[in-house]
Symmetry: C2
Subunit: 204 residues, 2 copies
């Protein structure tokens, strides 16, 4: 890897860290591009040659993580059933998110939760991942009905989103996390019909 490459990576990191630090100190909208550029020792114009927008800098690390998840999906061993694969991948994803809990990850999570526009972007990223799941699913199960694939991916990602929300609210306690994942997968796998509260009629 040449000097050029290394320096770019270094600058990118400097910008991202400066941005997150400033966001944490003064808040997101209280920090301007000029502030970030100044703290990272580059010109304001250069910021945009590394990140297409102010919002994107928040998702810099998260994107790398998502790429890893996709690679994990692609490396799926052939002797797993699709359901087993999905179980494993969901677990990996949750663990990755929980591990990210410290350091700058916490700042990112807080920012995303506080700013509706960032939350919207995060949901879009999740939706894009769902599209990817649909593609892999149709590849994995030749002849599967299209609507089936889309619904399955939707239910899976929806369940995963639920687990992430739940775990975040409970501080990522390890045993609670595992329990949530198990419970979520059980519901998705066995269906809403398996939840007694949902099939019980109020009258009578």
């Amino acid at each position: 890897m040449g000097l050029r490459e290394r320096k770019k990576r270094q600058t990118r990191r400097a910008i991202a860290e400066a941005a997150l630090r400033l966001f944490a100190e003064r808040g997101y909208e209280e920090t301007t591009i000029a502030d970030i550029a100044g703290a990272a020792d580059v010109s304001p114009r250069t910021f945009f040659s590394y990140f297409p927008s102010k919002e994107d800098v928040v998702f810099a690390e998260i994107d790398e993580r998502l790429t890893e998840v996709r690679e994990g999906i692609d490396r799926r061993p052939a002797d797993e059933t699709p359901l087993e694969s999905m179980r494993r991948i969901v677990l990996e994803m949750i663990e990755a998110i929980a591990a990210e809990h410290g350091e700058y990850g916490a700042i990112q999570v807080r920012l995303v939760l506080e700013r509706p526009s960032l939350q919207a972007r995060a949901l879009k990223r999740m939706n894009d991942t769902e599209q990817y799941v649909v593609e892999r699913l149709t590849e994995l199960c030749p002849g599967i009905d299209e609507i089936d694939a889309v619904v399955i991916a939707g239910a899976l990602v929806g369940g995963m989103k639920a687990v992430i929300t739940h775990c975040r609210a409970h501080g990522y306690a390890p045993e609670a996390t595992r329990r949530a994942v198990d419970r979520a997968l059980a519901i998705v796998e066995h269906g809403l019909g398996s939840v007694p509260a949902l099939t019980h009629r109020a009258t009578e």
Copy 2:
């Protein structure tokens, strides 16, 4: 309802229609706030006293529809099981969306699909609705486990999103729409384990 009220409603509608017409004619980013205000015969500044942002004008009608859906949820008859209620509400929602297919609804859908930022906003709205489902669900089923409620809402909304996507891609043909809804609800209700393609091991 006083004259003041009526005029406000009228102006709001004028702005929304002018905006959607211009978006359709020249494109979203090719239309400025000044253009919209000019076409609706108000000052640019006034635009912002009716819509908080340019993006919001795209969702004006959709928001009204979502409000109706929430009201539909609240009016749920007591002799339905939660699962039956959800089935009915999902069907109503899809029908409302399909009915919206004509007129300006089509423009909105096209805009949302084309612009990533609008797509993100649409997903956030869906997520907010999901939160609402969680609240009603915990109300409806006292003592239900929190994680269960969150997962159920996630799976339901995820499935619904899938149906919407699927139907849109197939031009909202009535019989295909009904089939998609049935299939989606069946999968969500009986679980992913009921889909043969997912439990079949490749090696054997």
